[in-house]
């Protein structure tokens, strides 16, 4: 299995958001399911980090390191707080 959970990106999210995010709640823009970031499905072995909804598998967050800068796409998350 290649999937981990949001615990695996605690450091990356700390770097990107400047805050501890694994206890933040994300809601899926596709199905509305709410979950703590630590419980989301994370794929690290890819050209970027992909965070998916545990209920419907839709993409919530994508983080790509573009030439040293972390680019974060949150369009798949209706909310993240």
């Amino acid at each position: 299995m290649h999937a981990l959970d949001g615990n695996a990106i605690g450091g990356l999210l700390l770097e990107v958001f400047g805050a501890e995010m694994t206890t933040a709640t994300g809601t899926c823009a596709h199905c509305g399911a709410a979950a703590q970031v630590a419980e989301l499905v994370v794929y690290l072995e890819a050209p970027g980090t992909v965070v998916r909804c545990r209920s419907c598998e839709s993409v919530l967050i994508v983080i790509v390191d573009v030439r040293g800068t972390k680019c974060v796409d949150l369009r798949g998350a209706a909310t993240l707080q």
Binding site: H2, A3, V41, Y43, E45, A46, P47, G48, V50, R52, E57, V59, V62, V64, V66, R67, C71, D73
Partner: protein, 201 residues
Amino acid sequence: MSFVSRGFRGRRRESDADPARVPPGQYTTDDFPVLSAGPTPHTPLPEWTFSIVQGDEKKTWTWDEFRALPSETVTVDIHCVTRWSKLDTTWEGVSVDTLLEEADSEAPYILAFCDGGYTTNLPAEDVTGGKAWVAFGYGGEALDPEHGGPARLLVPHLYFWKSAKWLRGLVLREEDEPGFWETYGYHMYGDPWREQRYSGD
């Protein structure tokens, strides 16, 4: 001067690969790393279809029909944007030219679509003229689901994210529209020899 870890070399080994075959910024590997943006799909073959879509028109093959098409075995080098390159990989597949024959299209762009929702975009001329295949075999065996089986796109002259896994079809388009990784910052074209990794490179 950033910190250097004494004695750390990483996975790369001294390679005797011909440097002319290794694009800039790449290293060669004997492994075949599995990269994935999502769960591995498992579409049963009786449900699997491949389609060429153009506007409202669609030509579809079942697995049996697809496997009845002429296929060929090719040995190519592949280059992943995450910097590994693997030389002399052997694949068996149907040339995209064969699949596009009937469509007789002049559409300049393609969007490949896959189980699991992955997509990638390419110019039509980069998947024709013997440059691309829909591959169902790797290393003499059926393509493993981890590596995109039952069938994936194979476009070796571009970064390997363009060789979409779990391929289900190609949409022929007038406009070039970004696929999955292209939407998140990767290059629209992706030529490893010009190191086109990210948008703007």
